[in-house]
């Protein structure tokens, strides 16, 4: 912890609507959903049918190609509907809660006294396993792999992101059990990325069996991918695993209580929210009870996740599997006369191309307007300024666009996922869809590798 890794590249978007730090309760949601689309590269296969009764921890679907990986219900009740999209793709498996919350008992256990296989089995059976993801590619981890290390970023720098120091307060014991589980899964170390100011140092210092690394800097310093790059980068053929801080708690509770306890603190934030804050709810819960009568007038966009990488959901939609944040921002469907030619005292920009640089502390009510049209790449050097990694973003993207597999590998496709280049996409004057291009590239690469 002596060495602080200072990241100088990046950008903190000055958006309005950062959540206030107060814990709020919300009436329990009546419907919950697990969404196969939350998992990259997953082909789901259903284990239940409509109206089947389920308990908290009962499998809803599994991975067709790795059937041991189960995705389970967060609540007890009955399967309300299986929502399908184009070509019968499964979008959501909705469960109507019965309010009794019957759990399947997976048995308590002390991870330090258990074998690796035993631990993995418990994680798989309970549906907690999918909380562990692998890099490269951001897939659900493969139980037959042994990662060279496991990484957890204990702070999030994304716009309006939750403050994990606040969420984790008082749950040190459970967190430690979660960490103990993870230490059993890797040959290497469990690395914890912290921010000297944003993390609760006394909480961190009391933790055992982990390697602590301090990072400072703007977003994306909190991205686990960026931290991996600076601690122990992923090369071709190597695999590391990552887990979100709140999901470490879920893992911990599985061993502490013997059940899949899907409770989660979710931040409701955004300029259009009346009462922002930290809501005690559950993963997969409908956001409706949180946002009902709690948002301002107008056409709004609801996002599960942060505004850079999250998924658009309906006002009655569900919290994503990995998300601890619901953002609500205005839609930007309006015309702006000569918008590109005005001085722009009120327009946030990473560049100094508008006069908003005169007020470096002002916060902005940012909307979803694209602010321009799609163009070929013209500017250079701007993308690398918001990515604190040794990666030539523009060249990597060009390699992907031209289907050049060799250069994709050489230029670092194993090291980044969508969230890492989200800022590049944000600042891009050519309005390129970089996150989509990257995912297409990853898919092409996997197809090629077979």
């Amino acid at each position: 912890m002596d060495r602080v890794i200072k990241l100088r590249k990046g950008l903190d978007i000055r958006i309005q609507g950062v959540a206030e730090k107060n814990l709020l309760s919300v009436p329990p949601s009546e419907v919950y959903a697990v969404k196969p689309i939350d998992f990259q590269g997953l082909t789901p296969k259903l284990s239940v049918r409509q109206d089947d009764p389920v308990k908290a921890g009962s499998p809803l679907f599994f991975d067709k190609y790795r059937p041991e990986i189960l995705f389970t219900s967060p609540v007890s009740g009955r399967v309300k509907v299986v929502l399908r999209g184009e070509r019968r793709k499964i979008l959501e498996v909705q469960v109507e809660a019965d309010g009794k919350q019957d759990y399947i008992d997976f048995g308590k256990g002390d991870p330090l006294k258990m074998g690796r296989e035993e631990i993995i089995e418990k994680l798989l059976n309970s549906g907690v396993w999918p909380f562990i993801r692998q890099r490269p590619f951001d897939f659900v981890a493969n139980p037959s792999d042994t990662p060279k290390a496991i990484f957890i970023s204990l702070f999030d720098t994304a716009p309006m992101a939750p403050d994990y120091a606040f969420i984790l307060k008082g749950q040190q014991k459970t967190f430690q059990i979660g960490l103990d589980v993870l230490t059993k899964l890797t040959e290497g170390k469990v690395h914890l990325g912290i921010h000297p100011e944003r993390s609760d140092i006394s909480f961190v210092e009391a933790l055992e069996n982990v390697e602590i690394h301090s990072f400072t800097g703007s977003h994306p310093a909190g991205n686990v991918g960026v931290q991996i790059h600076h601690i122990d980068p992923v090369n071709k053929g190597e695999i590391v695993w990552v887990v979100n801080p709140q999901d470490v708690l879920t893992i911990g509770r599985l061993f502490e209580e013997g059940r899949f306890d899907a409770r989660r603190t979710v931040v409701l934030a955004g300029s259009e929210v009346k009462k922002t804050g930290y809501y005690q709810t559950m993963m997969g819960a409908s956001v409706e009870p949180m946002v009902k009568n709690n948002v301002k007038e107008g056409i709004l966009r609801y996002i599960s996740g942060d505004v850079l990488t999250g998924k658009k959901i309906e006002p009655s939609g569900f919290i994503g599997f990995y998300d601890s944040l619901i953002s609500v921002i205005p839609e930007g469907k309006y015309f702006e006369p000569f918008g590109w030619a005005l001085p722009g005292f009120n327009k946030f920009s990473f560049s100094r191309s508008y006069f908003s640089w005169l007020r470096p502390r002002k916060t902005y009510r940012l909307d979803t307007n694209l602010h321009g049209g799609r163009r070929a790449f013209v500017l250079t050097g701007i993308y690398e300024r918001v990515l604190p990694m040794d990666i030539l973003v523009l060249h990597l993207l060009k390699a992907i666009i031209t289907d050049d597999i060799d250069n994709m590998e050489n230029l670092g496709i194993y090291e980044i996922v969508e969230e890492d280049i989200a800022l590049c996409e944000f600042v891009d004057p050519s309005k390129t869809e970089m996150q989509k291009i990257l995912r297409d590239g990853i898919n092409a690469l996997i197809k090629e590798l077979g």
Partner: protein, 387 residues
């Protein structure tokens, strides 16, 4: 304004698929997006986007060119009346230059934009904004008495052969404005060099007063008349004959400041280009065998089109190197070669245009080696971690 938005939205369906004027969709879009930032919202990826777009980027370059443009207009008048032996106040001189300049700018934009619109239409693309900059750059790097048909031809050549055949803005290899100038330079040398073309009227039989030479400092220097060079101060301020926008280093530096401060152009390219020019100048000083080679290295930086080329043309992000390390190398070589060609080549009095075009061609190669070195470093890291 609201009525206009309403009107545009009313006629919009005609231009969409299946509408009466479907063929003119790109043209419609170009005008629509010129009037308003459209109501498009994000669909994939990041839900919010920076306010900057290509129009804003390009318009900032135009803004950065304004000081040099205004000065150039005034200087047209100033030089003209100087040739007549008259001293006129600021405004009449500016007005004279403005009237001379206006048709040149109009012809440049009309020709170029017509071609851009045509290509966008054929390809079904939106109209690119690149020509906003090219269209004003070209008038600033030609002599004032250039015949308009000649200019129009050069613009057409630059846009079609220099840019559109490669796929439009962002895909071209050579800087379009310099392509236009090179076309003029090699096709109509009589109109692009000599003592007659730089001052309005001389080519058309205007009789200059005794002792007035219309030659640019570079022409004087190339002819060996080093003692007739204007003072460095005059060359810095720009009260000398030359291409319309290139003469005032001061006005150009003002533009450079705008470009660097807004982050539109790379300060690395600019700085290394000036460094490259200075280094070549010093080398020439060191081995000086004639008077031209003895011209102090720093004076080269305020002479001719050096400053203009390095600030506005070498930094073109599309045709310059695209890696950060590549920009240092590219910029240095542009400056270095510009002075080398300028001083040692007997055929061309100025080397900036050729140096930039040459390095435009080599920029992808520089990038290639920078990227290879980057890949090698990454692979080395992989090996270290395996051990």
């Amino acid at each position: 304004m609201k009525a206009l938005i309403k009107y545009v939205n009313k006629i919009k369906p005609h231009f969409e698929e299946g509408g009466k004027f479907e063929k003119f969709r790109s043209t419609f879009e170009a005008f629509e997006t010129f009037l308003f930032v459209p109501d498009k919202v994000t669909t994939t990826g990041s839900h919010i986007r920076d306010n900057i777009d290509m129009k804003r980027t390009m318009i900032l370059v135009v803004v950065a060119l304004v000081p040099a443009l205004l000065f150039g207009m005034w200087n047209i008048g100033y030089q003209h009346f100087l040739a007549l032996g008259q001293q006129v106040p600021l405004w009449p001189a500016f007005w004279f230059g403005f009237l001379k300049m206006l048709p040149i700018i109009v012809v440049s934009y009309v020709t170029g934009l017509a071609i851009e619109f045509f290509f966008a239409q054929v390809r079904g693309h939106e109209v690119n904004e690149g020509f906003l900059v090219t269209g004003i750059l070209i008038p600033m790097i030609v002599p004032v008495d250039i015949p308009l048909w000649m200019l129009s031809l050069a613009v057409a050549f630059a846009v079609i052969i220099g840019k559109e055949v490669f796929g439009g803005t962002g895909m071209n290899i050579l800087n379009p404005a310099l392509t236009a100038r090179a076309f003029l330079f090699f096709s109509y040398p009589a109109w692009m060099s000599g003592d007659q073309v730089w001052v309005a009227g001389l080519k058309h039989g205007l009789h200059a007063v005794d002792g007035f030479s219309g030659a640019t400092p570079l022409a004087e220097a190339a002819a060996g008349k080093i003692d007739q060079l204007p003072s460095a101060w005059h060359m810095f301020m720009g009260t000398i004959p030359g291409s319309i926008g290139e003469t005032s280093t001061l006005a150009i530096l003002l533009g450079a400041f705008i470009l660097i401060y807004t982050g539109v152009a790379s300060w690395k390219t600019m700085l290394s280009a000036f460094a490259g020019g200075l280094v070549m100048g010093l080398i020439l000083n060191l081995f000086a065998v004639n008077a031209y080679m003895q011209v102090p290295a720093w004076e080269h930086l305020v002479m001719g089109g050096f400053a203009f080329g390095m600030v506005f043309m070498a930094t073109d992000p599309v045709t310059s190197a695209q890696t950060e390390r590549g920009k240092w190398i590219y910029g240095f070589l542009v400056g270095f070669l510009a002075i080398l060609i300028r001083v040692l080549n007997p055929a061309y009095p100025e080397g900036v245009m050729l140096a930039i075009l040459l390095m435009n061609v080599f920029a992808p190669l520089i990038d290639h080696y920078v990227v290879e070195a980057h890949i090698k470093r990454r692979l080395k890291r992989a090996k270290v971690s395996v051990q």
